[in-house]
Symmetry: C2
Subunit: 177 residues, 2 copies
């Protein structure tokens, strides 16, 4: 990277802007997410683990940690809790004895699908806050900047899995209209 | 809002996309923020409270909670700790006996300024991940979508204070070049 094409002050101001915007956005997302999953007695990490396992169809704990952006110990501990509730199952593979694979059980699948069916039963401030943009541009914002920055930080495979899981969601899930 | 201009499924897919992007971005921001402030024995909430008090020049606890996107009790408890460390001072105003006003002390100001001077001593993955965009477009990304959504969620005064604090930072802070 050419070292003279931005000043350190400019970089710091940019970085502070993103930090504040990102915190405000995440806090709104977190609140929406929590109120959606509350009736199902799940926390965000647990729901995120279920979501990843559902879409990856046989993820390892380290896949879950990576795509869920959480510590491996967090991924393991919450996966264990979901297994105890019968929502996930653990297995080893003949070809790979070192890793533990995690799959969503039938019960877990039914729960996730029910949650998507009831998605619009709870408030979604982020969605509401995006509607004026949809009205002006005819589509929801695509967050190109954020997506590009995340691709640079987390890598292409992170984004590939991310896009794959959304495509998968699109083709399998029914939301009550 | 016209109720037929989007399907519920489309809205859910959009909302799930933002949730995941926002989590990944925030986790990267949080990591950068933590490594920057670690040498100063502050957590993110404490640093955020100092930042807001510094820029607002006489904020109430509820201003801090609002602009820092934290609970009032969190804002109060961490402000109290900062006061005990001599970084903030509390006061009442003749014209407004009900609210407690918070100001950054000289010691707090010196600390904040020192932190900005050393901003580039720690890694900033979000900044690094934005440089390729800066290279392509000649400027850092402006996150217009995110800014618009946040304005819709938190209101104009939130964004006004946000922009004001960044302008203030620009005019007062020196970053070593």
């Amino acid at each position: 990277m050419a070292d003279q094409f931005y000043t350190k002050k400019e970089a710091m101001l940019y970085s502070q802007r993103i930090a504040q915007l990102s915190k405000a956005l995440w806090k709104a997302v977190e609140k929406d997410w929590q109120s959606w999953i509350k009736p199902y007695d799940l926390n965000i990490n647990e729901h995120h683990i279920l979501w990843i396992s559902y879409h990856l169809k046989g993820a390892t704990i380290s896949d879950i940690a990576k795509f869920g952006v959480m510590h491996v110990s967090t991924a393991f501990n919450f996966s264990k809790k979901l297994e105890e509730r019968g929502l996930l199952s653990f297995s080893k593979r003949e070809t790979d004895k070192r890793n533990t694979y995690v799959d969503v059980t039938k019960k877990g699948q039914v729960l996730l699908e029910e949650m998507y069916e009831n998605y619009h039963e709870t408030p979604h401030a982020v969605l509401e806050g995006s509607l004026p943009i949809k009205e002006v541009y005819g589509k929801f914002p695509d967050f190109m900047d954020v997506t590009a920055v995340i691709r640079n930080i987390y890598g292409d495979d992170f984004m590939d899995i991310f896009e794959r899981s959304l495509k998968n969601l699109e083709s399998t899930i029914v939301a009550k209209d």
